[in-house]
Amino acid sequence: MTDRTASPAGSPDLNAPQRSRSRALRANLVAYGFMAPAILLSILFFIIPAILVVYLSMTDLATANFTSDIAQMNFVGLANYVTLFHDPFVKKIFFNTIFYVLTTLLLFNTGAALFVSLLTAHVNRRAGFIYRALWLLPRITTGSVYVLMWRRIIAEPPFGILNQFNALLGQPSVSYAAESPWTFIILVNGFIGLSFGMVIFTSAIESISKDLLNASLVDGSTLLQRVRYVILPMLRWPLLFVVTYQTLSLLTSFEEILLFTNGGPGIYQTEVWALTAYHRALSNYFGNAQWGYGSAFAVVLVLIGVTLAFIYMRVFRFQELVNDPKIEVL
């Protein structure tokens, strides 16, 4: 194999090792060229801020002594972490988070998403598009309007839509916001989260070769057999990706909970870790946002997320998927 673009035509191959080394170097340079924008952005907006947030968590930076000059911040060591672990509600918030992430992830972000994409892939194509467009609505509606809509769905009579149906059916009215806040938080987030998996799964199902499906049809497979033996194996990568990615998304997402219950109605009843970080760092009731203390919460969350990411990579054997670039140096 000759690399015509690279080597001068007709030059004899006298010092092969040196040439291949320079060629490898050039291939690496090409690769880094492709990667350059992403690397630059990651360093600027992830790596540097990540280091900064760890540093911030060891300062007592707050509204009162805010400064954008790193050198002037008060270094307090691990004091914020000591405060954090002595917080009486930390355990509850921690388990709230685990409950919220697991339930939403399994039932909606992957379970229902897979179900909907399988269903919409098996109906007439145009109908499938319409359904998917409708399922995408929660994601494209801006958060405050979407949450407003759900508030109206569960509101007390005479405003609530569910209670209007209850009245039509002769059932007593229910104050859903007080009685089942978690159910609706999971629904509110699940309906948004579903569309992510749906779009990715659908793209993957659509890109399964039609020959493969036709072959299995000719062989007389049933629908469930096709799903089980043809479609699901092809969905391995999207599934792992959605599970991993959405776990981390759910861990760090709080906007809908903030708008919907803001951690209430009971004491920290629906508070999750990311929301606590936000409350501490950005919206303290006493008007003194504790950036440093909030950053400590963020760092703990990051540690949980990173641990989970590594566990996922190990369990799902990401290394195998990551291992084999299709084309080595030519």
Binding site: L41, G143, Y146
Partner: protein
């Protein structure tokens, strides 16, 4: 050849190939139907047990006050009988071609059996139709004067207390009541609760105390109605074409959203709403108005005079820039990660995924510090620093990176590399191969990422609101937040109108994107594996 299937697969599905041989007998049909019905019910039951009896106590023991598991568990239990009827009927579908009456017989027999089991269980546990309901032993109706006692149950507590037909109930203790209200209270009361009524009888006022007691409200009509409903469900499951099933399931699942968005649309055209009904100031049906849409003409809305065109254009520019930039950056990166071997490749892949675990909101201060310092760089800083469109775009693209890079890598991985290799062997450069051979093959992937990027940019609130000062760069979401600010009384219906306005362009964008996909799939991807 399809891998051999397990028996459950063969039973659960109603594939045409299993019907070719005529079913042997009704008995075997019933047996098969029952097996399917029991299997499906068992799965639901196991789910209900898992959530209601395993997960819930576990969560309770660690202090989580949640209501979801109980709700979900009872939903599964409620669906169990329906699943039983449907499961049995679906198994009976195989008999449909052979003999319609046999199929119907099997489906109905299984359904009656299931209904019998359900009723038997309810009888034993005194639940459902055999539930003992709280009552006061009289019937009532609402009249002008108050709640009129229509009839009194002999031997009930109302009769013992001396209540007579024709009495008008004025108040419960001291609070005036309506018939609806009273019935709701009674339904929620428990045995021995005391109710003291103030009544008038022939112009004379009396006070009577009655006590709640429980009666079995066995209603044979309801029992028969339930059976008929079950049989209808079973017949539907038997006769509704299999191709309708996905439609039915998706539409049922969409119902909550349908109700919500219906309300959103109605609300934008009305002064106020009750449930899904537009009402005027007196609570009567009506009150339709266009005033919620006055923001379109730039009218003063909620204390903010905003040029809606500028705001929309800002949103669009940010979203479009973000989409183009993240598609370019992520496809380049994804290609390199999928196709090239270079030091640091695996590290970068793991890192991007881990980075996604960084909560955006808590990186805000560090990012603010970074942007301030970027702004100090000569020339470039003017476009990329704090309070510039470029700075916002950069931050948002960065947050889109983990998704984009992994998504693109995944799509590149699925493409066969034969064409690419031959292009490279023929001397095309990596760049040319990427642009002319590979990129056209991952259009579905580009589109999927494009949709997410555009939505991300279009809906972005936190980043534009955090890193800009003043309204020069306000986007639609920022505008909506201003409308819902705490300083003014919020006109929620106007918020809904702006929300719908914001929704429309992106919805259209999505529909066009789908159309584009349709064309790709219809014509087939040129040369794809």
């Amino acid at each position: 050849m399809v891998t051999p299937v397990t028996t459950t697969d063969a039973v659960v599905t109603s594939a045409p190939n299993t019907t070719t041989a005529a079913p042997s007998s009704i008995l075997s049909g019933i047996w098969r139907g029952l097996r399917t019905a029991v299997l499906i019910s068992a799965v639901l039951f196991a789910g209900a047990i898992l959530f209601g009896w395993v997960i819930q106590p576990a969560l309770e023991s660690v202090g989580v006050e949640e209501d979801f598991t109980a709700m979900f568990s009872s939903l599964l239990l409620g669906l169990l009988p329906v699943a039983f009827y449907v499961g049995g009927s679906i198994a009976a579908r195989d008999f449909r071609k052979h003999s319609l009456s046999t199929a119907l017989l099997i489906a109905w027999l299984i359904t009656v059996l299931g209904y019998g089991l359900l009723t038997g269980y309810q009888y034993v546990s005194e639940s459902g139709i055999f539930r003992q309901a709280p009552t006061l032993g009289f019937t009532m109706r609402q009249t002008e004067a108050g709640v009129e006692v229509v009839s009194v149950e002999p031997g009930g507590s109302a009769e013992e207390a001396g209540l007579q037909p024709g009495d008008i109930i004025l108040a419960l203790r001291r609070d005036s009541v309506t018939a609806d209200d009273l019935q709701t209270r009674i339904a929620q009361a428990s045995a021995d609760d005391a109710y003291r009524f103030r009544i008038t009888r022939g112009g004379e006022e009396l006070q009577l105390t009655t006590r709640i007691y429980l009666v079995s409200q066995l209603d044979t009509a309801a029992l028969v109605r339930g059976l008929i409903a079950a049989l209808i469900v079973a017949s539907l499951a038997l006769f509704v074409p299999a191709s309708w099933m996905p439609h039915i399931l998706v539409i049922v699942a969409l119902l909550p959203l349908a109700a919500g968005y219906l309300w959103l649309i109605i609300a934008t055209f009305s002064a106020r709403t009750q449930g899904l009904l537009p009402v005027d100031a007196n609570g009567n049906f009506g009150g339709l108005t266009l005033s919620n849409w006055s923001f379109l003409s730039g009218a003063n809305s909620g204390g903010f005079t905003v040029n809606i065109l500028t705001v929309t254009l800002n949103s669009f520019l940010i979203a479009a820039t973000m989409t183009v930039a993240s598609l370019a950056i992520c496809s380049l990166t994804g290609y390199a990660l999928s196709r090239m071997a270079f030091p640091g490749r695996r590290g970068f892949l793991s890192m991007t995924l881990v980075l996604h675990g960084f909560p955006a909101v808590t990186l805000f201060i560090p990012i603010f510090l970074v942007l301030i310092n970027l702004g100090k760089i000569p020339v470039v800083g003017q476009f990329l620093g704090y309070n510039t469109a470029g700075g916002i775009a950069l931050v948002m693209i960065a947050f889109e990176l983990p998704l984009g890079v992994w998504l693109m890598k995944g799509f590149f991985d699925t493409i066969s590399w034969d064409m690419e290799r031959s292009a490279l062997i023929d001397g095309a450069s990596r760049w040319r191969t990427f642009r002319e051979i590979i990129l056209p093959q991952i259009r579905p992937g580009l589109l999927a990422l494009g949709i997410f990027s555009f939505i991300g940019g279009w809906n972005a609130y936190l980043i534009p609101a955090t890193y800009t000062v003043g309204t020069g760069l306000a986007t639609l979401p920022v505008y909506i937040r201003q409308l819902t600010g705490e300083l003014n009384p919020v006109n929620w219906n106007q918020v809904a109108a702006v929300g719908i306005f914001q929704l429309i362009p992106i919805f259209i964008f999505f529909i066009f994107a789908q159309e584009y996909l349709l064309n790709i799939y219809a014509s087939g991807t040129k040369g794809s594996a």
